[in-house]
């Protein structure tokens, strides 16, 4: 640690959805920090729990979901805080009220850019009006000034003719343009932290490049911190300082970008990096990760990645590795959740039998088949 408190600290955060099929452990005890001025990445496949984690930080989880444990602290305030008391999980007294989170935190301190640009704008109000309203609320500006700010911000994110477009409705904007509007909303509120949930997925590569440049500019200008959610390792390499790799609700590796790419400590990260398209490879040479991620309702025993892990051994089926410090890092240690790091986990990985391919494939089929594989 460098002596000062982090801007945001997430500890052992757990969010579950109580559905008819069972309890979805979408976020299952993740811990990470964001320092002032830092861009922290969260990467992982679809369904890993990235969006749920992002929403949990701002307490935006709705029925049938619920935050069931852990802690989120932002600049000394407790956004989420649970404690075990009399055998029951309770909200701590220092946890901010709903009203306080709404008034003091949302938009003003922490803004979020949602993943889906097509559904995130209200179809019956003008784009400019929606942007203006958020500026009014979060910067205490009168309507006319908020309007000017809104137009400026639309121009800044690359909407042509922003004065004219201000009064257009969302359906008159393309997906990419709507995405820019969502980005403008976050930037315009001048928060200290922006949670960006795959904000460039809907954009083509050139536009994505422009937006990433813009974010870097702003980050230098205002020192805004970002949590950048993506499944694209290329984007991570381009803008992030540190990265969290998520798999089935857990963080399986956490390191600076350099360490993650060059000192990879987890087989899942290695697989993700391996599946990344590189300029020197043709499409045939790509190595997609085998299989699909199982459901978060009944996660695999032991290490959740073992049904797909090329290095899995018997011990991985039974022992669940936590995300522990396995090497030094620049400021924070390099963490990984893999039993191969025998010196930290001491589970007897190297003496254990490797899982043979047939067995692993079978387990994977069982886990990913419809209805939990009971029919096999």
């Amino acid at each position: 640690m460098n002596g000062t408190d982090p801007l945001l600290e997430v500890r052992d955060l757990k969010t579950q959805f109580f559905t008819a099929e069972g309890t979805v452990r979408a976020v299952d005890g993740i811990s990470f920090t964001v320092e002032e001025g830092e861009i922290v990445g969260i990467v992982g496949e679809s369904g890993a729990g990235k969006s749920v984690a992002a929403s949990s930080i701002l307490r935006l989880i709705e029925n049938p979901g619920e935050i069931v444990g852990g802690e989120v602290r932002y600049r000394g305030e407790t956004l989420v805080g649970f404690e075990q008391r009399d055998g029951e999980l309770r909200e701590r007294d220092d946890m901010l009220s709903n009203e306080a989170v709404r008034k003091r935190i949302r938009g003003r301190e922490i803004a979020i850019i949602f993943q889906d640009p097509m559904e995130s704008l209200n179809p019956v109000f003008t784009v400019g009006g929606q942007l203006r309203e958020f500026i009014e609320i979060n910067r205490d500006l009168p309507e006319s000034e908020a309007r000017e700010e809104a137009v400026d911000m639309l121009r800044e994110v690359g909407i042509p003719e922003p004065v004219k477009r201000f009064d257009d409705y969302p359906h008159q904007f393309s997906g990419g343009m709507r995405q820019r509007v969502l980005i403008a909303m976050a930037l315009a509120c001048e928060p200290s932290l922006i949670i960006a949930d795959e904000p460039t997925t809907a954009l083509d590569v050139t536009v994505e490049g422009q937006i990433l440049d813009l974010v870097e500019d702003l980050q230098q200008k205002y020192g805004t911190s970002f949590i950048w959610v993506t499944h694209d390792m290329g984007v991570v390499a381009e803008i992030c300082d540190r990265v969290n790799v998520m798999y089935l609700g857990e963080i399986v590796e956490q390191a600076s970008v350099d360490d993650l790419f060059h000192e990879t400590k987890h087989p899942y990260t290695a697989a993700l990096l391996d599946s990344m398209p590189r300029p020197d490879e043709t499409v045939e040479e790509l190595n997609p990760i085998e299989g699909v991620m199982p459901e978060a309702i009944n996660p695999p025993s032991g290490c959740r990645f073992h049904p797909r892990c090329p290095d899995a051994r018997e011990v991985c089926v039974n022992v669940h590795p936590e995300n522990r410090a396995v090497a030094e890092g620049e400021i924070h240690p390099h963490r990984a959740a893999c039993l191969q790091h025998e010196e930290v986990f001491r589970a007897g990985y190297w003496g254990s039998q490797p899982l043979d391919d047939a067995e692993r494939a079978q387990r994977h089929r069982e886990l990913t088949a419809d209805g939990g594989g009971a029919d096999e």
Binding site: L60, S120, F134, I137, M185
Partner: protein
């Protein structure tokens, strides 16, 4: 929006023509002959022929049809055989009564149902919600004439609080209203007369609108853009009133529009139960007496009301949802 309105109105013309045609053909197909009604069961052949000639009934169907359409276009709906006055005069006399009844029951329904539905959605699965849902369920499943009879028995016969028959127009001249000395008396009496028919006709609408309002609000409240508004600190009250409410009214408008048609049928029953001389009773009298031009005239009126209802639905839709008028802008 203006162009859309004009286009919508123009589109109504063929629909109205269709209604005229169908009404004409249906009336023609009704068994029984107006001549036999006027002259009794075994008419003198010469008299019958004379009457046929007088009303043009001896001419071929298409000639009569074209004549009828030409008359209707000029605002002439023919002559009521039973009342002995022009059909338009009879309609002009009865229409305000039915319109008053419709307007007052829809006002009652909307003013109660919309807040009830919104509160229900906001307090989902809490006691308020349960109560309002049970009330709505009872409302949609109780026949309106039964509600009317019950109200009459309780409030007119037992409690003697409200009049059981007739309506008084609030704009009627005090001189023509029994027991009224001033404008205020007329208004009070009009209100007293209107209360029970309004509840009778409006309960079904209220219940149906409450249900759709609740489910529409619930659906909109789970939309991504509502989540976005929450994420930016918009107060819950503003979300309910502004961000969610407007979107949620789209399905509500559709239901209100459909209910308007149902309410026309309900008006016939309500007018019968409360002995109100409106369009509903007029059409029944017309049918019972095979007063075929009056039947056509009143049917046309109901058709017209329906078309106006549809147009109003579409226009309010376009007013709320900018995507509707979009097609013509680009």
């Amino acid at each position: 929006m203006l162009r859309y309105t004009v286009r919508r109105l123009l589109q109504a013309i063929p629909v109205l023509l269709g209604i005229v045609t169908i009404t004409f053909l249906l009336t023609d197909a009704i068994p029984g002959d107006p001549v036999s009604i006027m002259l009794g069961p075994s008419p003198n052949a010469e008299q019958a022929a004379a009457i046929r000639a007088k009303y043009g009934l001896d001419r071929p169907l298409y000639v009569r049809y074209l004549n009828y359409v030409a008359d209707v276009v000029q605002g002439d709906l023919g002559h009521s055989l039973y009342y002995g006055v022009p059909v338009t005069q009879k309609i002009a006399e009865r229409m305000p009564v039915t319109l008053l009844l419709l307007v007052s029951s829809f006002t009652f329904a909307i003013l109660t149902a919309v807040p009830l539905g919104v509160i229900s959605a906001k307090r989902r699965n809490q006691p308020t919600d349960h109560v309002s849902r049970v009330v709505a369920l009872i409302g949609v499943s109780t026949p309106s004439f039964w509600i009317g009879l019950l109200l009459i028995i309780v409030f007119s016969f037992h409690l003697n609080l409200l009049p059981a028959t007739n309506l008084i127009m609030p704009w009627a001249d005090p001189v023509n209203v029994d027991g009224a000395g001033s404008r205020l008396d007329v208004l009070v009496m009009a209100g007293e007369h209107l209360l029970m028919p309004t509840i009778t006709l409006g309960t079904l609408q209220m219940a149906a609108i409450t249900r759709i309002e609740r489910s529409a609000m619930l659906e909109v409240l789970s939309e991504e853009y509502v989540k976005l508004a929450r994420a930016y600190g918009v107060p819950e009250g503003t979300i309910l009133r502004k961000h969610a409410f407007r979107n949620a009214q789209l399905p509500v408008i559709t239901v209100v529009g459909l209910q308007l048609t149902a309410a026309l049928g309900g008006a016939v029953l309500t007018e019968t139960v409360f002995s109100i001389n409106g369009m509903g009773r007029l059409i029944i009298t017309a049918i019972n007496n095979q007063d075929y031009e009056l039947v056509m005239g009143t049917t046309l009126f109901f058709g017209l009301t329906f078309v106006i209802g549809v147009i109003l639905t579409d226009l309010s839709y376009a007013y709320i949802d900018p995507r509707v008028t979009y097609g013509e802008r680009e």
